[in-house]
Symmetry: C2
Subunit: 338 residues, 2 copies
C-alpha cells in the first residue's frame, strides 16, 4: 500500500475523531496538504474502502474509518503524544497525595476519566498476585469473629466468621498468633495449602474453631477470586455523539458487572505493556462500537490492570499516552509502600 494512501487514512481518522462527521475527499486534500487534488484522494479512498479500512455510511457521504482502519492507525500511524509537563506534574501531585490503597485506586480512576474524557476502570491489586502482610482477628460477639487480611499491596479484606463455640480473649490471641505465623509473607497463591494444615497445628481444644477459621480463610483468599474494580467517568458516555441512547444502556449495565469489566481489562495477555482492543476485538456484543485501552501496573510485576473505555472513534494517541503515564505513576507509588 502506497504511502499516500496511508496518509489519506490518517487524515480520515484524525478528522473523523475531531469532527465526528464523515470526511470527504475535498476536506482531506485541502486540510492535510497532501499536494494532490480531491479527485486523486477519491481514488485512494476507493482503494481504502475496497481494502476494508474505511466505509461510507451511505452513497454520497464522506468516509469513516472501520475497526480495521483504526487498527492500522493505532499500529502504524498514530504517534503517541506524551502528556504535557504540566499534566505530568498534576498527575504526579494528585496521586502522591493518596492516603491508602483505596485512595490510590479512587484517585487513579478519576484521574484517568478526567484526562481522557472517557470511562475509566481500575482493578484493585489482584489477590492472586499478592502476599499476606498481616491477619487480624477481632471478636464481634463471643462466637463471631471478624477476620481482616492485609496484603503487601495494601489491600484490606475482611470477613465475618461464625465460630462453633465461644472463644475467650486468649483463644483469639492464640489463633491470631497461629495464622500469622503460618501465613505472614506467604503469597496468597500458596495460601490454600498452608491453610489446609492449619487446624492440625492448633491446641486440641481449639481444633474445631481453628478449622472453622481455616474454612473461612480459604473462602476469603481463594474462592474470593472475584476481583474488585473501580469505575469513574460514566457521565462521559453521554458526550455528544459518543453513544446514542440505545447503545448506552447495555454499557452502563456492563459497568456494574465485575465479570464483564474484568473481561474487558483482559487478564489474559497480562504481560503486554499496553493493549488496545478495538470494536469486535473485545469479543462482546455490546462493545462492538467500543475501544478499550488497558495497561498493567504494579510494583515490579503486574498486580492489576487499569484502562479506559470509549467509542472506537476516540483520540488514540492522547488516550494511549494518558493510560500509559498513569499506570507508570501508580506503579511507582505502589513501589514506595513495599
Amino acid at each position: 500500500m502506497d504511502d499516500r494512501k496511508l496518509e489519506v487514512l490518517r487524515a480520515i481518522v484524525e478528522d473523523y475523531v475531531a469532527t465526528q462527521e464523515p470526511v470527504g475527499s475535498k476536506a482531506v486534500s485541502q486540510r492535510h496538504s497532501l499536494g494532490v487534488s480531491a479527485a486523486t484522494v477519491r481514488n485512494d479512498m476507493a482503494y481504502l474502502e475496497e481494502a476494508g479500512y474505511i466505509q461510507q455510511p451511505h452513497t454520497s457521504a464522506g468516509r469513516i474509518p472501520t475497526a480495521k482502519g483504526y487498527r492500522l492507525f493505532v499500529d502504524r500511524l498514530g504517534k503517541i503524544k506524551p502528556l504535557s509537563a504540566a499534566e505530568r506534574r498534576a498527575v504526579h501531585r494528585f496521586l502522591s497525595e493518596a492516603i491508602d490503597l483505596d485512595d490510590v485506586v479512587t484517585r487513579t480512576v478519576r484521574l484517568l476519566a478526567q484526562l481522557t474524557h472517557q470511562v475509566a476502570v481500575v482493578q484493585y491489586p489482584s489477590l492472586n498476585r499478592s502476599s499476606v502482610r498481616h491477619l487480624e482477628l477481632v471478636s464481634l460477639t463471643p462466637t463471631r469473629l471478624m477476620v481482616v487480611m492485609i496484603t503487601d499491596t495494601g489491600r484490606v479484606e475482611q470477613r465475618y466468621v461464625e465460630m462453633p463455640a465461644e472463644l475467650s480473649e486468649d483463644d483469639v490471641l492464640e489463633l491470631r498468633r497461629l495464622v500469622n505465623e503460618q501465613l505472614q509473607g506467604k503469597p496468597l497463591a500458596d495460601a490454600p495449602r498452608i491453610i489446609a494444615d492449619l487446624a492440625g497445628l492448633a491446641r486440641p481444644e481449639l481444633h474445631a474453631t481453628a478449622s472453622a477459621l481455616a474454612r473461612v480463610l480459604l473462602e476469603t483468599v481463594v474462592a474470593r477470586t472475584e476481583e474488585r474494580v473501580a469505575v469513574a467517568g460514566a457521565a462521559n458516555l453521554t458526550r455528544p455523539g459518543n453513544f446514542f441512547a440505545g447503545s448506552l444502556r447495555p454499557i452502563l449495565e456492563a459497568l456494574e458487572e465485575e465479570v464483564v469489566l474484568m473481561q474487558l481489562l483482559g487478564r489474559a495477555d497480562s504481560n503486554a505493556l499496553l493493549t488496545v482492543r478495538i470494536g469486535d476485538e473485545n469479543n462482546l456484543d455490546d462493545f462492538r462500537e467500543t475501544t478499550v485501552v488497558t495497561a498493567g501496573y504494579g510494583p515490579g510485576s503486574v498486580v492489576g490492570h487499569m484502562g479506559v473505555l470509549g467509542p472506537t472513534r476516540m483520540d488514540y494517541p492522547g488516550t494511549i499516552a494518558a493510560v500509559r503515564a498513569v499506570a507508570r505513576y501508580v506503579s511507582e507509588i505502589l513501589e514506595q509502600n513495599r
Copy 2:
C-alpha cells in the same frame, strides 16, 4: 377540595406513571369508574390545574401531575403496597448471605436498584455515629505504618502513616496497646479529645512517634468526615422515557460526587423514618425532575441512610415500600453483629 377531585388526581398520577403519557378526561372517566362523565372530569381537571396540582404540556393534550400534585398524592393518596411474601423472602435471603459490611452494602444497593428499577444509593455507616472496636497497626517499612480501624458497625478504615523515626517491633506493639486501651469502645465523636491526650501517655522515647500517630488518627477519624456511598442501577436511568439524553449527563455526574449524593440522602432530617423529596424539594437544579426516596437504617439508632432516585414520575407506593423494607432488614442484619 372535593373527594372526587382527589380521586381524579389519583387517577391521573397512577395512569401517568403507568403509561408515561398525558392522561385525558375520557381515559380517567372510563378506566377509573368514578361514575361521572368525561365532561365532569374535565371540570375537576380545570380546578386541579388552577390549584397547581396538574398541568398541560400544551393545549389539547392530557394532563400530567406537577411536583405539587405528586406531593399531595404521596401525602394523602398513595396507599403503600407492601412487598409480596416472595419478595420479602428473597430480600431476606439475599441480605443474610452477606459476608461482611462491604458485602452488606453492595448487596443492599443492588437489591434496591433491582426492586425499584431505579438508581439506588447506600451510605456506609457514618463514622460519626460509630464507636471504635479495634485499632490495628501494621508496619510497612520501618518508618511507615498502616493504621486499620474497625468500628462497631463493621466498617474498616485504613491509612498510611509516615513515622518521624524508625520503629522497632516492640514499639509498634506498645503503640497498638496504647491506642486500643484509650480508644476501644469509645464513640468516634469523642475520639478527637482522647487522641489529643494520647501522646502524653506514651513512653518518653515514643513521644514523637505517638504524636505523629495521633495526628494521623485525628485525620482518619475526624477530618475524614467524608462519607462513603455505594451506587447501583445507573443503567435504570436510561429506561425508556425516564430521562432524555440532555438531562442524563448531569445526573450521571452527580452520582460520582459524594457531596451531592450525601445532600440527596439528606443528613439533615435524619430522624424521619422515611423521606420523599420530590423535584424542587431536593434544592438541586439538576434534580428538578427527580424524586429521592430515602430511609435511615442502623442497629437501634440511625447510622446511615439509603435511598433510591428516579424521575418524579415513579411508582411511589412500590418504591416507598421497597426502600422501607430493605432499610429494616439491613438494620436487623447490623443488629446481629453488635
